[in-house]
Symmetry: C2
Subunit: 173 residues, 2 copies
C-alpha cells in the first residue's frame, strides 16, 4: 500500500481565512485571499510582520480553523487504498501542539494517532507522496511532491498541482 | 551528511528511573531496573497496568526526567559529522507534547526545532539510522536500526546493540 503524507495548514485546515479575518479586524483592512496571490500576508504588509505572526503564537489559534471543503470525505476515501499520515510543521509554532492534535481528533477521528507527525523540516518524512502548499517542504521531500494550491503559491511551477480536494481525489483515485 | 534519528525515552531521557520511583513509592515496593530484565513494568505487574500507565498521562511526567549519562556531549559531537533528528513517539502520550518539547529545549538547546519529530509509527522516519530501545519501532524503520539497551530489551537479538552513549560514540565516530 502506498503512503500519502498530508500537510495540515492550507491543505486540511483553512489557515488563511481566520488569519485574514483577525488581521482585517485589528488593522481596519478588508484584505481578501485575492490580495494574497503570489505572496503571504507578511510579504504584503512587511511593516506588520511581528503582529501578523503574533496571532499564530496564541495556543488556541489552530483549534477552530475550518476544514477545507471536501477534505474529510476525500481523505476517508483515500484511506481505503493508501496509507495516510498527517505531517504538519507544528515545530514552527510549538504553542500549537495541543490545538492541532485536538483539531485532528475532532475532524479526522478515523486517522490513528500513530499516523500523526508533528515535525519541522519534512525531509524527515518517509512517504511516497506529500501533499503540501509549501514549496520549500516539497523541495526537501524525497518522494513525489504534490502542490496544493494556496494564494501564496499560485506562481509556483515544477510540481503536479491540485487546486482542491476534488482534484486530489482525481489524482489518486 | 548521513542522518541519525534518535529516540527520547530510555535513550536520551531516563524514563525508567522516575517511573520505578513513583511506582515503588505508591505501591510500597522496592523494584529496581534489575527486576525489569527482559520485560516492562506493566508485564511484571500486569494487575496494575492501568495505574502504571496513569503516571505517563500526567502532562508534567516527561518534563523532569534525567538526561542519560554522556548523552548531551555525544549528541553534540555527532552533530559535527551527522545530521541529527530527535524522533519520539509522543503520540503514544498526547498529553506529553509540551513537556517533551521543553525538556529538549532545556537539555539540547543546540538541536534545532526543525529537527524535532513527534510521531507514532516510526516507519514514517526518513533517516539512515535510528537509535531506539523499542524493537517494534526498529522493525518498522526503513534505515539501519540500532538497539539502545534498556532493561526490557536485553534478550532482543538481530540489531547492532549499544549499551550506553559511549558505545554510540564508538559506533559512529
Amino acid at each position: 500500500m502506498k503512503r500519502i503524507a498530508i500537510d495540515m495548514d492550507e491543505v486540511m485546515a483553512d489557515f488563511n481565512k481566520k488569519h485574514l479575518a483577525l488581521f482585517n479586524r485589528d488593522f481596519g483592512e478588508q484584505l481578501t485571499t485575492d490580495d494574497l496571490h503570489g505572496k503571504k500576508l507578511r510579504e504584503l504588509r512587511p511593516e506588520l510582520v511581528k503582529e501578523i505572526r503574533s496571532y499564530l503564537l496564541d495556543p488556541t489559534y489552530f483549534r477552530d480553523l475550518e476544514v477545507m471543503e471536501h477534505c474529510q470525505e476525500v481523505v476517508e476515501e483515500l484511506a481505503q487504498s493508501y496509507e495516510i499520515f498527517v505531517a504538519t510543521a507544528a515545530m514552527d509554532f510549538p504553542t500549537s501542539f495541543n490545538a492541532k492534535y485536538e483539531w485532528l481528533k475532532e475532524h479526522f477521528p478515523f486517522i490513528d494517532d500513530q499516523n500523526i507527525v508533528f515535525c519541522g523540516n519534512k525531509s524527515i518524512i518517509h512517504a511516497d507522496y506529500l501533499i503540501d502548499d509549501n514549496v520549500r517542504q516539497l523541495e526537501r521531500f524525497s518522494g513525489e511532491g504534490i502542490l496544493f494550491t494556496s494564494p501564496h503559491n499560485v506562481n509556483v511551477t515544477g510540481y503536479p498541482r491540485v487546486h482542491n480536494w476534488l482534484d486530489v481525489r482525481d489524482y489518486f483515485l
